[in-house]
């Protein structure tokens, strides 16, 4: 489902069709093709440009860095994508990542770390902590989904509220015990190794373990989206909620589950992020939802609802990280980076909407 197949056969038959068009139609078909893929064209030009200016950009270590960053940001994007397929959004994502990262970090500090939040806490098994943060993510998702489905509130409003609530919760959580609002660090090696330990080496450059976790999650999400009745229901609700209801889809359950699944994905992101950056504060996860939503839109998960592919999300996250790293290579200032991000989202949405507008 959600695969953007064009009617008829593959590239060849489309080319054959193209050859039969009149001059004007040909020109329109070409300009349509350029417009519809403008985002990819712009990014491709950017990559070539950056690679010429700074050849190290395409070095092995740089590419593995980009892949790792992509893996770190992929789960949150996979979560947000579900909400977007329902023609909604979820702006609480980044804050949930922050909360779950802080919780995971606080429960997995070294026993002899002087500023340990819970001084008497032994080293917990990783799985216990993981399950705990997944539960936290699921509960926040449940709250989001419940208010969206039950009271028909726009997801933007609901998740704006939970975003604030979760941020408050993070700040309060960081005041617990000995921590006094400080950054959480001094993590137990079992945790940091589990997350950033070396998976394997490529030409001497280490690939961190979380790349594998991210890949596994991608496969699971692909399965859920494409191979389960829940996935089919999700696309149906996103495409036409009224028709889904008449057709016997449990709309309430579907919406709640989509948001819960999203919450779980944020929690996974938080768990990985906690071990990856190894020092968590209230600012961890800040604005992650913006990047995640941008990646989804670039990857063709449309705000129109009912369309999107997992492969598109992966591509979107990858391209976005590629651009960010590339701009870093060009020593573009962090301030400028925000402006560029904004422009990318705007352009991607405009191009996407163009495909769905009725031609008049």
């Amino acid at each position: 489902m959600g695969e953007s197949r064009t009617s008829g056969g593959g590239l060849f038959s489309r080319f054959a069709e193209f050859k039969h068009l009149s001059g004007n139609d040909k020109r329109r078909a070409v300009s349509d093709l350029i417009f519809n893929n403008a985002m990819f064209i712009i990014i491709a030009i950017a990559i070539v440009f950056i690679a010429i200016r700074v050849p190290e950009f395409l070095s092995l270590s740089s590419i593995i860095n980009i892949v790792s960053l992509t893996a770190a940001r992929l789960p949150i994007a996979l979560g947000v994508a579900g909400a977007i397929v329902l023609s909604g959004t979820d702006i609480s994502a980044g804050r949930v990542v922050g909360l779950t990262a802080c919780i995971a970090a606080s429960l997995l500090q070294m026993t002899d770390y002087p500023k340990k939040m819970f001084p008497d806490l032994p080293v917990l098994p990783l799985i216990v902590v993981l399950l705990a943060v997944l539960a936290v993510g699921a509960v926040i998702g449940l709250i989001n989904g419940f208010f969206v489905a039950k009271f028909k509130l726009h997801p933007f409003i609901v998740t704006l509220s939970t975003q604030l609530i979760v941020f408050g919760a993070v700040l309060m959580y960081l005041m617990i015990g000995n921590n006094n609002g400080q950054t959480l660090s001094g993590l137990d090696p079992s945790y940091t190794d589990f997350v950033r330990g070396t998976l394997f080496r490529v030409g001497g450059v280490a690939v961190p373990r979380y790349v594998l976790y991210s890949a596994v999650l991608t496969v699971i999400m692909w399965f859920i989206w494409n191979k389960t009745t829940f996935g089919k229901n999700m696309f149906a609700v996103g495409s036409n909620e009224e028709a889904a209801n008449v057709s016997g889809v449990n709309v309430f359950k579907t919406i709640v589950l989509v948001f819960m699944l999203a919450g779980v994905m944020y929690a996974v992101t938080g768990f990985i992020e906690g071990g990856r950056i190894a020092s968590c504060s209230a600012n961890t996860g800040l604005n992650y939802e913006g990047d995640a939503i941008a990646a989804c839109v670039i990857g063709g998960v449309s705000f129109v609802g009912g369309t999107g592919k997992i492969s598109g999300i992966v591509t979107g996250v990858f391209l976005l990280q590629l651009i960010f790293v590339g701009l870093n290579f060009l020593s573009v200032s962090a301030n400028m980076l925000y402006i560029i991000k904004g422009l990318i989202i705007l352009t991607a949405c405009a191009i996407d909407m163009r495909k769905y507008l009725a031609r008049k």
Partner: protein
């Protein structure tokens, strides 16, 4: 309006229709649903571009680009469904888009001027409404009066009323008639569209009847009786052919009694239906036909009533429960509540029977592919592949896909709301054949339609709804369109 022609793909909606309205008279425009009344009006107001014919106002040919253009030239319409900014005040609504300014070149609106002018028009019409009130605090009839006042404020010479009394009670209707008399005295020409015979005969001077996009007759109202109007409205040959009817009614399958809704007008409807029967539901727009089906299917909140299927009491509190009980509902608004436009045919076909096409929550694509193939073949859906997006299909083929969706749930009772709306003649026949075959295979079909010949041609019995109530039941083989029309206007 002279010789107006309007064609839509496959249908000639208006075929050289002429309408002549004199100043100072009320001209009633009548006809069944789909006779072309609103299309004619839409051509007048520039909503549709007419394909032929001309419109003259005061002897000058006009062609309005949109309703605003028409309004500024003295042609106004009071719509059946009021389009007003409810959160703004009464006078804001009156002057929307042309707020009076404090003075020329000073871009501030003058509330004082607005109030004074509004008050003046209201006094003229004898309306007791405070121009400062918020629109949402007014009753429907008062809102309608404001709309009329607005038309007057534009110095309209021609005012069209589209079923103005459909949401008014008797006393409110009297006020409306009084105002219409007043407008008439001022020399306005009034076009009055309504289904209600009594009020037509009471207030109008001339009656024009339309049928199938054609002008049938224009007569002085004084020469007409109710029966004559009905005869003019429906008196046509059955132009379409219908397949032989189902004739194998078995035991009673569904028995409904005292069905009423909480939030709509459906009131105390009772009927039975046997296996192998096609029961039609006739009635004017807004008579509660759709509401009846939606209530049965659990889409609207039920106040009271019982549903007995196969001798067993069922509740159908929501669509899922209804589907489990063997019900299927083909909705009237195919685009809004039927198809998933951006999904493909297979996804559209199996959405209601995902359980059958999955194992422990895992979707079985091959099985779905096979079911969809069966549907495409047996219903003769014209499509290149299963992966084609449904929105690219024609209306008839979309309808077949949705029917296929429901057949996969193996329903016993099919509720079909306008199953042939927006479908060309050839596909209509196929849908009729399908409906009759379903009945012959022992299912019960309830079919709502605005097209009477279709009901007469396909159904065994016809229930006639009027004003949310069941006005009567007729045998489709022995009844006449006149009888149905009389019943349909019983409670309006």
């Amino acid at each position: 309006m002279v010789d107006i022609v309007k064609a839509f793909p496959g249908v000639k909606a208006l075929d050289r229709v002429s309408l002549n309205v004199d100043g100072g008279t009320v001209h009633a425009l009548m006809g069944e649903n789909g006779a072309g009344k609103s299309t004619l009006m839409k051509c007048l107001f520039g909503v549709y571009k007419k394909d032929g014919g001309s419109i003259f106002l005061n002897g000058r040919e006009v062609a309005f680009k949109n309703s605003k253009d028409a309004l500024e030239n003295g042609v106004a319409m009071v719509h059946q469904e009021l389009n007003q900014a409810l959160k703004l005040s009464v006078m804001d609504n009156m002057w929307l888009g042309r707020f009076p300014k404090v003075a020329k070149f000073i871009p501030f609106t003058s509330e004082r001027k607005m109030y004074r002018q509004t008050k003046q028009i209201f006094d003229e019409l004898g309306l007791k409404i405070d121009p400062n009130l918020k629109m949402s605090r007014l009753s429907v009839s008062q809102r309608q009066m404001v709309e009329i006042a607005k038309a007057v404020s534009y110095n309209s010479k021609v005012i069209v009323f589209d079923e103005p009394t459909s949401s008014l009670n008797d006393r409110e209707a009297e006020t409306l008639f009084r105002i219409i008399e007043m407008l008439k005295a001022k020399g306005c020409g009034i076009i009055y569209i309504s289904h209600k015979m009594e009020e037509i005969l009471r207030i109008s001077d001339f009656v024009t009847v339309m049928r199938d996009g054609m002008h049938v007759a224009t007569r002085p109202a004084g020469e007409l009786t109710m029966d004559e109007i009905i005869k003019l409205m429906v008196g046509r040959e059955l132009t379409q052919r219908y397949p032989p009817k189902a004739d194998s009614a078995g035991e009673t399958l569904l028995s409904v009694s005292g069905l009423s809704s909480v939030y709509n007008q459906l009131q105390d409807v009772s009927f039975d239906i046997k296996r192998g029967e096609v029961v039609g539901v006739a009635g004017l727009d807004g008579s509660g036909r759709t509401e009846l089906l939606e209530n049965l299917f659990g889409l609207s909140l039920r106040k009271s009533g019982s549903i007995i299927l196969n001798g067993k009491m069922i509740r159908n509190r929501n669509p899922r429960e209804a589907i489990k009980n063997g019900f299927a509902l083909l909705t009237e608004e195919r685009r809004a509540t039927g198809i998933f436009g951006i999904l493909n045919i297979r996804e559209n076909t199996v959405i209601s029977s995902l359980k059958r096409h999955s194992l422990a929550g895992v979707f079985r694509k091959n099985q779905a592919r096979k079911s969809t193939d069966d549907c495409i073949k047996s219903l003769r859906v014209k499509t290149p592949t299963q992966e084609t997006k449904i929105r690219t299909l024609s209306g008839g083929n979309q309808q077949k896909v949705i029917l296929g969706r429901w057949l996969l749930t193996e329903p016993e009772v099919l509720l079909l709301d306008e199953p042939t709306r927006g479908i060309d003649v050839g596909a209509k026949y196929e849908i009729y054949q399908l409906i009759i075959n379903l009945a012959k295979s022992g299912k019960a079909v309830v079919m709502v339609s605005s097209e009477m010949p279709e009901l007469l041609g396909v159904c065994n019995r016809i229930l006639v709804m009027s004003g949310g109530r069941l006005a009567g039941e007729v045998n489709a083989d022995s009844t006449t369109q006149e009888e149905i029309m009389t019943l349909a206007t019983k409670y309006v």
